[in-house]
Symmetry: C2
Subunit: 106 residues, 2 copies
DNA sequence: CTGTTAAATAACGGAGTGGTTAGATAGCAC
DNA sequence: GTGCTATCTAACCACTCCGTTATTTAACAG
């Protein structure tokens, strides 16, 4: 799950939320954060390398947009994990229901 | 999203997957990784402080289990983001459908 | 070609992270 | 009490990460 590392930084997390609302130029993104342009530029690179963002060139501007696949994968990961956990929990629940009538365990 | 930072490390990510399959003692967890006990112990602390794992004491053992709330939140975050993205995409799609008949744009 | 704008890269410093080994803490067995 | 087991904490080191400023690349305007 390389995605987690890419989203671990709050700035990158916010950038992703921005991009979910539509594509933006690098400058427009940088303007929203109290850090320097180069700092944002590197955040964008991390997101690109993680496959979460992609960019196209338009004159001098780089227009960034969201690449959804990794987020779909992320959603799937958490959903699968939770359903596994819930199924375990249900097994435990059944066990407790059963032993409730007998009241014995090690 | 503090959860991302907690899951950014592959060892912690695997621990969470282990815990989804049922609770485990600290020793049982540590045995599965090629790193020292103290290293795993600190990973467990990070997960605890992120609210992803919790532990109870049983004799000398600490039994770790999964706390699902942060993962539910994570699932919700990715789902919301994707649905926002998809709605944007649909708007764009409608625009393209429309301009397709006219064939003009800047 | 020169100048300007937009963004990326380079180089560097400080803070945080993950690993290690050694020592502390807590509960059980005797 | 002593000894053993299980786990955590402390101290330290190497490495990575995020921020900065300075420089470079790239595209347009004249």
């Amino acid at each position: 799950m390389q995605v987690f590392a890419a989203l671990a930084d709050p700035v990158r997390c916010e950038i992703v939320e921005m991009l979910a609302g539509g594509e933006r130029s690098a400058g427009a993104i940088a303007a929203r954060f109290p850090v320097s342009g180069p700092a944002v530029s590197r955040h964008l690179r991390v997101l690109r390398e993680a496959g979460i963002a992609k960019c196209r060139t338009e004159a001098q501007r780089r227009i960034y947009s969201l690449n959804p696949e990794p987020l779909v994968e992320l959603e799937g990961w958490s959903t699968a994990l939770l359903s596994q956990w819930r199924s375990r929990f249900e097994v435990l629940g059944r066990y407790l229901d059963e032993s409730q009538g007998k009241g014995e365990d090690s």
